[in-house]
């Protein structure tokens, strides 16, 4: 019982502490916290348009968070979600541009291409870890940069002729939804949000209900025992990175086929892959947790845009709040310790 409660308590208290600290900073810097947070709320859920934007922003976060969480649950730290997301983005846009197919084939094909590209990008560090025991953190970090520059090269010199963005993908490969736009007053919300929810369910099912998940988690917890029990540890490491990369790649497809409808030269990382680490951390590496944390991050990011104009509070403040939330989650030990102390005192 206590365990379950802490699982929920740590993120919730972290978020509250983060917001509270943000309020203090606003006070100290001469801003009005109520107005600031009202503006944040309005900018995130104030009306259907903003709700749509929040959900749209949440979509890639869900995938990035799932990717990190999946790897983490199997004992791997995938810092390469950013790069896997970029190659997935590129691959999906490419397929979306290159083929002329009916939507029922074209769209799934483009998404699968994104998944496959992300999976391939995850395969490399997985393989190196399994075969040569190279630490996946090092490889995935490096692979982020290679992904950034390779995708930029492809956009400029392969898909387009020196342009800094690709053409929009064909209508048959687009995730954009007239229906979702109409109910959210022309927000850029797209069908990817359904896929995000489905992906979360798939991840939960895969980890909790299948023999594969049983194996992957066992390897994550204890490689020695898994080997003793006859599991193929190396195969599981590679598989885990491939699946994680596929989630990230689909996250990229959400950007390419949904949010932007194309891909452009990225001068730096989009940050979604890295935010995915925070989302997974906040979500306790569970599917449902990732969805909720992604919603929070989406709301904070989108809502923050509204803060300067509505309340005069600089939107950098939200970055501080996010950083603090992550800090509090990361130092969850502190919170559990605090709870433990409280519990002890009550016992006396």
């Amino acid at each position: 019982m206590f365990k379950n409660w802490t699982v929920l308590a740590v993120p919730v208290i972290s978020v509250l502490l983060g917001l509270l600290a943000g309020a203090l900073i606003m006070l100290v810097s001469g801003n009005n916290p109520t107005a600031g947070y009202m503006a944040l709320w309005n900018g995130a859920f104030g009306d259907s348009f903003y709700t749509g934007e929040t959900l749209r922003q949440m979509t890639p976060y869900v995938f990035a968070g799932l990717a990190v969480a999946f790897a983490f649950r199997t004992g791997l730290f995938n810092i390469g979600v950013e790069g896997q997301l970029l190659v997935g983005w590129l691959a999906s846009v490419w397929v979306g541009l290159a083929f002329e197919l009916p939507k029922i084939i074209h769209l799934p094909l483009a998404i699968l291409a994104g998944a496959a590209a992300g999976a391939a990008w995850g395969f490399i560090p997985g393989f190196l870890k399994a075969r040569l025991r190279v630490h996946e953190v090092i490889v995935t970090i490096m692979m982020n940069y290679t992904a950034l520059h390779i995708t930029n090269h492809f956009i400029r010199d392969v898909i387009s002729d020196g342009a800094d963005a690709t053409d929009p993908v064909r209508e048959t490969a687009s995730l954009q939804s007239a229906f979702l736009q109409s109910i959210t007053d022309f927000s850029s919300l797209h069908n990817g949000i359904y896929l995000a929810v489905i992906a979360a369910i798939i991840m939960w099912f895969m980890l909790e209900k299948t023999t594969l998940g049983y194996e992957l988690r066992a390897v994550g917890y204890n490689q020695h025992a898994s080997e003793y029990a006859g599991m193929n540890v190396n195969r599981n490491i590679v598989l885990s990175m491939v699946i994680s990369g596929a989630f990230a790649g689909i996250g990229g497809a959400m950007q390419g086929l949904g949010t932007f409808g194309n891909m452009f030269i990225n001068s730096g990382f989009s940050g979604i892959g890295f935010d995915g680490i925070a989302v997974a951390l906040l979500g306790g590496n569970t599917a449902i947790g990732v969805v909720l944390a992604a919603l929070l991050f989406g709301a904070l990011k989108v809502g923050s845009l509204n803060m300067p104009i509505e309340s005069g509070v600089p939107n950098e403040l939200v970055e501080i709040v996010i950083a603090l939330i992550i800090f509090f989650v990361a130092s969850s030990y502190m919170i559990t310790w605090l709870l433990g102390r409280l519990k002890k005192k009550e016992a006396k």
């Binding site: 998940g213 049983y214 066992a218 898994s226 080997e227 029990a229 006859g230």
Partner: protein, 508 residues
């Protein structure tokens, strides 16, 4: 009598759970006093109270007849109480001297005066017969040596009363002998010792008196000269315990395991098993005894497929299983109770229930077409939990939360339930208390009696002698002798384990 320590009516609770209930322990000057109890009986709690880590809810502590409040370990140190921990608190990359003086360094012009420190360490080790090299790095010395460093640490800080927390759990038989000599030397120098243990043999050998606790309650203090192991054991567990495991003579049949000319390299690439031959027949228990590091681990890893062989063959029921993957070996009919249950035996963060299917999760009825059927898993688990008396709140409790004995019972249940032809048990009773040991020995013999081949690896000579039907002595990667447990003695085994060929021929 003159008591240096008196703990009177100590009571300690944790959230309503009474860990110590009205326990009294009186340590006379110059005695070795055993604190005996099963795992979880409250021995550590009591000692942590004495060492200032916990504050008791009731009771008094007197040191040399004075009432004291021990609020923290520093206070305990100042009162001359030193603790030799079971898990050593040493810095691996520091030298022996550096570790001993850590936090209490002799200073000279603001720098540590290592010369003086080393001198002092030499004096101390000479005085108490604790031979150590003061300049050796901790990482380079044996476990027994490390323990001496721990003892020297307490002496360096002026301890008059030493608490030894399960000191023999990590030692080889030879090292245990040396430790006993050290303890006697300490007494001669006027120190007093509390020895926390659940090993009755040691108590009988070195202790003057013994205080028994059971389930947090003080059962009483008895003079060792007035008691015997059986009596102590029944005091400890609260019922009669038998030591010599009752068993009928073995009726061995055909060879189940045949190891021929087997060579295996260890992780560093050094040949650890050299041209080894070994048979285990259906219906017998073969015990492997030897000093740790003579190839036992590698032998077992090679049989179970965890380690590659570099020569020779292993066959099971006439079928060659050399070089098969662990899963194939398991499927061929080998079960394995691993040496390190935390590292190999269990996924500690999995519920005990799902640990039950660690090797069989992919088979029906636990899964179908890649989908787990956790209902069946837990059904199986609860059957085994009942059958093997695993004490756990439920089958969904994390394996980590169970005591060592219960974890081990679960592993044995899991391995035995697969109905293997060969059961390999590596140190199956390590760290367990008398009750659990008895249970596990009974189960091993049961397996033998139902016609299984059992291969037992243990560093406890009495366990080997007690349980085995044949004893194979391993030395430098080879079986140097096979002896009959009924006619052999610990002395003979000790000699064989040390590489002496004498007496080997008589028993083959």
């Amino acid at each position: 009598m003159d008591y240096v320590i008196e703990m009177l009516g100590i009571r300690k609770e944790f959230n309503g759970f009474v860990a110590n209930d009205d326990i009294t322990l009186q340590l006379a000057k110059g005695e070795i006093h055993a604190l005996l109890g099963e795992n979880g009986a409250g021995k550590s709690t009591l000692m942590n109270v004495l060492f200032g880590l916990y504050q008791p809810e009731a009771g008094r502590i007197r040191v040399n007849g004075q009432d004291v409040q021990i609020t923290d370990p520093n206070k305990a140190n100042n009162l001359g109480i030193g603790m030799v921990h079971q898990h050593f608190m040493l810095v691996d990359t520091f030298t022996v001297t550096e570790n001993i003086v850590l936090g209490n360094e002799p200073k000279k012009f603001g720098t540590v005066n290592m010369k003086e420190a080393e001198q002092k360490v030499r004096e101390l080790s000479g005085q108490y017969g604790l031979s150590v090299d003061p300049t050796a790095k901790i990482a380079d010395i044996s476990v027994g040596m490390q323990q001496r460093v721990e003892i020297l640490k307490t002496l360096y800080r002026g301890a008059e009363i030493l608490i030894f927390d399960e000191p023999t759990a990590v030692l080889t038989p030879q090292e245990i002998k040396e430790l006993i000599q050290i303890m006697r030397a300490l007494i001669k120098e006027g120190k007093s010792i509390i020895l926390i243990t659940h090993k009755l043999k040691e108590i009988m050998e070195v202790c003057d008196r013994v205080t028994v606790i059971r389930k947090g309650k003080g059962i009483g203090t008895v003079d060792v000269s007035n008691t015997n192991p059986n009596h102590l054991a029944s005091l400890m567990v609260g019922r009669d315990v038998t030591f010599t495991t009752e068993k009928a003579d073995a009726t061995p049949a055909h060879n189940v395991l045949e190891v021929r000319d087997l060579s295996v390299n260890d992780s560093r690439g050094v040949q650890a098993v050299r041209h080894l031959n070994l048979d285990v027949r259906a219906g017998e228990i073969v015990g492997i005894c030897g000093v740790d590091g003579n190839g036992q681990t590698e032998l077992i890893e090679a049989i179970t497929g965890l380690r590659k062989t570099s020569g020779g063959s292993i066959s099971l029921n006439g079928k060659d299983i050399t070089g098969l993957k662990p899963r194939k070996v398991t499927e061929a009919g080998v079960a394995h109770i691993p040496q390190d249950r935390h590292k190999h035996g269990l996924v500690l963060d999995y519920p005990i229930g799902t640990n039950i299917v660690l090797q069989t999760y992919y088979q029906k009825p636990f899964s179908k077409a890649g989908i787990m059927n956790y209902k069946e898993v837990y059904k199986k688990a609860s059957t085994l939990i009942k059958e093997f008396d695993v004490r756990t709140p439920s089958e969904t409790t994390l394996a980590r939360a169970l005591s060592g004995g219960n974890q081990q019972k679960a592993i044995i249940g899991r391995e035995v339930d697969r109905n293997p032809d060969l059961l390999i048990a590596a140190q199956p009773t390590r760290g367990l208390d008398v009750g659990a040991i008895e249970f596990i020995h009974r189960r091993l013999i049961e397996q033998r009696d139902s016609g299984k081949a059992v291969l037992l690896l243990s560093f406890e000579l009495d366990e080997i002698i007690n349980v085995s039907d044949r004893i194979a002595v391993i030395y430098e990667g080879n079986i140097v002798a096979v002896v009959d447990p009924k006619t052999t003695t610990e002395q003979e085994l000790g000699l064989l384990m040390a590489g002496s060929k004498k007496g080997a021929d008589e028993h083959v």
